[in-house]
Symmetry: none
Subunit: 199 residues, 4 copies
């Protein structure tokens, strides 16, 4: 369910065909040209749609691109879930490796990079990103960590709020700065640092 959908009553006469064509055109252009180079006119042209049909339903290019990325994400509908096999280290390693793999794949991460970037300029977009993308993952992670606390794998004093940042932050940092390599070894390094300190 994307953001625009939430505003649309069931009685809307909105054309589903046009909506999907726009989102797919926007996603294609995002990958082909990047956020800055793509234009609303270009999206409309590639989608075979009037510009007004975009402006009618989205307030800005950012909003279209955000929905386009969400839409693309739905297609490749991730289970998203964190496994809970009882072995915390193994479970987290799985997740971190998956994240690293995704970020290392230029194609798959281009849209995410763009959205991160745009959310810096655009506070409204930033809130949507946090709300729809980051917080869900964060909550899943925290749930898994609480489960580990209950199982005695983490100390009772563990700061559940800081741990996810300690895990994801360094990976995100390397991804954005591209100064040093982002690989499974680095993820393992971070993971062991965090777990050792809190066991």
């Amino acid at each position: 369910m994307n953001v625009a959908d939430q505003r649309v009553a069931s009685t809307s006469r909105r054309s589903e065909r046009a909506r999907v064509a726009i989102l797919e055109a926007a996603y294609d252009l995002l990958l082909d040209e990047g956020f800055l180079a793509m234009t609303i006119e270009g999206i409309a042209a590639r989608a075979g749609v009037g510009k007004q049909t975009i402006y009618r339903w989205w307030p800005s290019k950012s909003a279209v691109v955000f929905d386009a990325a969400l839409h693309a994400g739905e297609q490749a509908a991730e289970d998203g879930g964190l496994p809970d096999t009882g072995d915390l280290a193994a479970d987290l390693r799985l997740v971190l490796h998956a994240i690293v793999d995704e970020l290392r794949d230029e194609r798959r991460s281009a849209a995410q990079r763009t959205i991160m970037v745009e959310s810096m300029h655009d506070h409204a977009l930033a809130e949507k990103v946090v709300e729809h993308i980051l917080r869900p993952q964060l909550e899943l992670t925290k749930d898994r960590l609480r489960s580990a606390v209950r199982a005695g794998q983490l100390g009772a004093a563990t700061d559940i709020d800081a741990l996810p940042d300690a895990l994801y932050g360094p990976i995100f940092y390397r991804w954005m700065l591209r100064a040093r390599p982002l690989d499974h070894a680095f993820a393992d390094q971070i993971l062991s640092t965090v777990l050792e300190a809190n066991s």
Copy 2:
């Protein structure tokens, strides 16, 4: 020494007055309007300079803004050095708190955020950022960590390359995403996690 300067022979007829006016105008506009909203025309107008004078010396808006930020940084030229009192935890805490303080000040961090963001679009800019801003700090940090290894405060097996990311990454992550608070307590939390795991 900014980037443009490096291309400019000492015999250049380039007007220093114009160069400084442009950099200061660009920095003002960056803080006032943000990167996306500011324009080359706007910089030229505020600097009292012809557009061509900008295009003659810089290839893009990003380049002007980067130099403008460097120029502004030079004014408030910090030593940036890491102390080495022998107490590693105290020394790192000092640095992390200083970073947190700077990032929490919207005005002081706005330009840095913009540059980080732009460096995601612009690989050339990204390299300049890494080279001129990040690597120096990174090397200082690694020097301090090596000193701590020698002093026995960190285990001999410590991964000197991963540790700075484990420290700065989470802070950077919270700063960019603005989803959760960035404060001294969080910095302390990260610091103790990292040190405990590697002591």
Copy 3:
């Protein structure tokens, strides 16, 4: 009976309410904004009618406006007749003065000016104007002139076809060009010129 009516069978389910609302909205907008500035959407909105209801019954903005002007004219349905008191000069003076008075009243003549103007672009409209507005008046005038010829007030060789143009043309010319004043004195001047030459 307006033009659209002629196409509509007596069994039509056409809404009279909508038809009248459209014509009145169109006339109001014509006077308020002028032909160029008014839009079909504007007419529909002011009439409280769907656009399609206009497109269903009229082929173009010109056609709606023409019917609107006719409709407005019917309301103030003048006999328009030329008197025949036996005194040709007095009778024509009466008619010319009435025409001048109408044309001098900006409000009453605005729609007529617009229609004249539009009929220059639009041959179909031009024919409707001639057929429904000009020819009737022209024929009445020619009847009156023939009566005067029979009464010996005009020479037998008088060109009945050219005279009405000689009378109305100069008045129309001043009205359209607005370069010089259009008043009773000018009408009298024209009238005496025409009558002297043909007596």
Copy 4:
């Protein structure tokens, strides 16, 4: 000297190439498509010019078209003068026949028709038309008539102001309404009516 020229100082950096290209493109489009159908974008495209270059120097399509018509007129620079051979009837007949010939030629009169039409919508244009096109001709005509009064060919009481309208009005009327033929015979008829009455 066209209207735009009057605003342009001798030090203007305006491109003469662009100015002429725009006026010629506008005139071509006026004849090819007519005023309503032609667009600013179309003029710019045909002239090989940016839209902004048109908007920089003219406030509206009407203004461009007006200058374009003046420009075209200058090319075919008519002496425009009224002859004064001493034979008033012959001199006026020459002028009226020339006007009739021009108005009967669809191609030559299209631009004039358009300008007349537009001047009805656009009071500023109307004033320019009167000032630059009508009044000069009017003054020439009145000069010739005054000369005829001095020569005793017209009565001393002749209304010099009303006569030109009595001559041109009926011709203009037939041209605009297209209801009845506009030819030399009609012009002669009008001319003899006017002269007989004022001799």
